[in-house]
């Protein structure tokens, strides 16, 4: 390894990167677009348009509807007069939820009988439907409890405390803001995307332009060439990281709870493995198009398998295992750990070891493939 040769390569690569306006433009616009897109893409199911067929039209039924609305999941848009109208609203997608209150609702309540209320949900989107259904059941349970207490009081009996009380606390993200989960994920996904593609760009480009042949006859060693090409990309990756963090803070108020320094240090382990992946892809591809397709083939599933959008635990076990080979999986643990939970190295070391291990494997494979021969 010669420091002079390495410096020459780093200098050349830096000059070329800085002159490549299009790539730099993508590095800046991509995070903005992704953050805006995914940042507002929440998994909350608020303000669902609701149609109500209130056959009772009494004060009790009004209390019931208000209880639904107070959860913020239901927004009553339509007061319908029959079942057919309700069906029509649901069919057309004008309403996602239908609530049917029977004519004898108030009478049954006063008589201490069971009053049935029907909640119909458009379950085309199963995930949202599941949330709405459980909220609806909750509303029912809560109301029943209140009514029971009132009934007992009216009869002059003492109320008994609930046998089981479940108290909930949302740790790390008390306001349950989905951006807190999504934004660090986008950060990792963008970094993985840009670093891998940049690596492919700077390595395959030489082969396509024919400059590779000229490089091969020089005394440059493969490791020097690789390192010289990668170091400027690491610097660019850090600039990108800083930019995204600033953007996430300014736009969504997502701050770094843990140590910023630790985040930067551990990101190096991620760069190591994602740049290695890019290098490996470049060495097995002849053209940029080929390499880019291969990268898409690897990156797209890796984003889904890493737990970027869905919890990894909900995937079937074989897919979870595949996800273990994806650098992003570990990096997401690291950034969510530092950004959201504010934990330190004591909680993150298994992920760090995995990242470094993956990096060593892909780089070793890349160096074996990266021969200074034309054929």
């Amino acid at each position: 390894m010669s420091a002079r040769r390495l410096r020459s390569i780093v200098r050349k690569e830096t000059a070329q990167l800085l002159r490549d306006r299009r790539t730099l433009g993508i590095m800046i616009t991509l995070p903005i677009i992704q953050l805006v897109l995914y940042g507002y893409l929440t998994n909350e199911v608020l303000h669902q348009p609701t149609a109500v067929w209130d056959q009772c039209a009494c004060s009790e039924s009004r209390i019931l509807v208000r209880a639904f609305e107070n959860t913020r999941y239901f927004a009553v848009r339509w007061w319908v007069r029959d079942l057919r109208e309700m069906e029509r609203r649901l069919d057309r997608g004008q309403a996602k939820i239908g609530i049917v209150i029977p004519p004898d609702y108030a009478r049954r309540l006063r008589a201490g009988e069971v009053a049935q209320v029907l909640v119909v949900v458009d379950a085309s989107d199963a995930t949202s439907a599941r949330v709405v259904l459980s909220v609806a059941s909750g509303v029912g349970a809560r109301l029943s409890q209140d009514l029971t207490v009132q009934l007992l009081r009216r009869r002059g009996q003492r109320t008994v405390p609930q046998p089981v009380e479940v108290r909930t606390r949302a740790w790390y993200n008390p306001d349950l803001r989905s951006q807190v989960f999504i934004v660090p994920g986008i950060l990792g996904a963008i970094l993985q995307f840009t670093t891998t593609f940049l690596t492919i760009g700077v390595i395959v480009r030489e082969r396509e332009l024919g400059t590779f042949e000229q490089l091969v006859v020089t005394p440059i060693r493969p490791a020097e060439l690789m390192l010289g090409k990668i170091l400027p990309l690491v610097a660019l990756g850090y600039i990108n990281l800083t930019f995204i963090l600033a953007l996430a803070w300014a736009w969504f108020g997502v701050t770094v709870k843990g140590s910023l320094l630790l985040l930067y240090v551990l990101t190096l382990a991620f760069f190591f493995s994602s740049l290695g992946l890019g290098t490996l892809i470049s060495t097995v591809s002849r053209t940029f198009t080929q390499a880019a397709q291969l990268a898409q083939l690897i990156l797209l599933p890796s984003i889904l398998l890493s737990g970027f959008l869905f919890p990894r635990e909900s995937l079937p076990p074989p897919l979870q295992w595949v996800g273990l080979a994806v650098p992003l999986t570990y990096y997401l643990t690291v950034i969510r750990g530092i950004l959201v939970k504010g934990v330190g190295i004591e909680a993150l070391w298994p992920s760090i070891l995995a990242l470094v291990g993956l990096g060593v494997v892909v780089f070793a494979a890349a160096i074996v493939r990266f021969q200074k021969k034309l054929g």
């Binding site: 200098r11 070329q16 400059t211 000229q214």
Partner: protein, 309 residues
């Protein structure tokens, strides 16, 4: 100094069953301008690439500056320069940045690097455009820049693979002046070319055809000894008709236009009076018919035809 700059022994390369270079052997003494001639696909570039150690020989081997290209390619690299057939500098870097990069990877540094870069910029007439992007440079200047990148570290052996392909005649001449200067300073120059006028610049030539060496020697020597037959230069009026008449003549093997004359290849000088008589009889105002030294092109064409025959 080694006695032989480059030595090839049964150098062979097979690509997927296709023999590109077929048991080629030669020796090149140091300080020579060695020309490698042959049609496209004859195996010139493949041979050069093997000599530079970037392509493994299938069989045989070569020594460059006494080192085996199969096993010691890395040791050879610092002492040779190579200019590829395809223009291969970075268009998004400036003239100076390209030179500095190559100087740097060959171990030049600081003041020495600056001195060498300045010297070449001056030498090659690139000083005024040193801060221009290569993308904006005309072909002739690009070629000189590429040469500079290959010679900045003062290599002992310089490989040039069709360095003047697609360059205008004036630029070609300036380019060869630069090459001549290297040779004078003791660099061994190995150059492949299509252009016969460039071949005349070389101390020694090797003709390669279908992967095999079919002739070797100094240009004069090749012209004198390797021509199967005699070239008669026919100076006459109505050139095109005279050419057709020569081609039809039973004693002429081959005829071609050469400048303002017809070159007719015959078996023996004794044919000349007979040809003169016949042409005059056909009404041509023949000025003279004289045996001349064949051009390299004549020899080359004749050799290739003999191979194919």
């Amino acid at each position: 100094m080694t006695e032989v700059a480059v030595r090839a022994e049964n150098l062979t390369r097979i690509f997927d069953g296709l023999v590109a270079v077929d048991h080629v052997s030669f020796e090149i003494p140091p300080g020579r301008k060695w020309g490698f001639l042959g049609p496209n696909g004859a195996g010139k570039s493949t041979t050069i690439r093997m000599l530079c150690g970037i392509l493994s020989p299938t069989e045989g081997t070569a020594w460059v500056l006494g080192r085996d290209v199969r096993r010691e390619a890395e040791a050879i690299r610092a002492r040779i320069g190579y200019m590829t057939q395809r223009f291969s500098l970075w268009r998004d870097l400036t003239v100076r940045e390209n030179l500095e990069f190559y100087g740097g990877v060959y171990g030049l540094w600081g003041a020495e690097l600056r001195r060498q870069v300045e010297a070449w910029l001056e030498h090659a007439g690139l000083a005024a455009r040193q801060h221009d992007l290569v993308a904006n440079l005309p072909g002739g200047l690009r070629q000189r820049l590429a040469l500079g990148c290959a010679v900045l570290h003062q290599p002992e052996v310089l490989f040039l693979d069709e360095p003047t392909a697609g360059v205008d005649p004036l630029s070609r001449r300036q380019f060869w002046e630069l090459i001549d200067r290297f040779a004078e300073e003791g660099t061994t120059v190995i150059v492949t070319t299509h252009y016969m006028d460039e071949a005349e610049h070389c101390d020694e030539l090797a003709f390669i055809y279908n992967g095999r060496l079919i002739a070797r020697g100094a240009p004069e020597q090749i012209k004198r000894t390797r021509m199967p037959g005699v070239v008669l230069e026919v100076r006459t009026d109505r050139l095109m008709e005279a050419l057709a008449a020569c081609e039809r003549h039973p004693l002429v093997q081959e005829a071609a236009l050469y400048g303002a004359a017809v070159h007719a290849i015959v078996e023996d000088v004794a044919v000349a009076p007979r040809l003169l008589q016949d042409l005059r009889a056909s009404g041509f105002a023949v000025e003279s018919i004289e045996p001349v030294l064949p051009s390299l092109e004549d020899v080359f064409v004749a050799l290739v035809e003999a191979e194919e025959g």
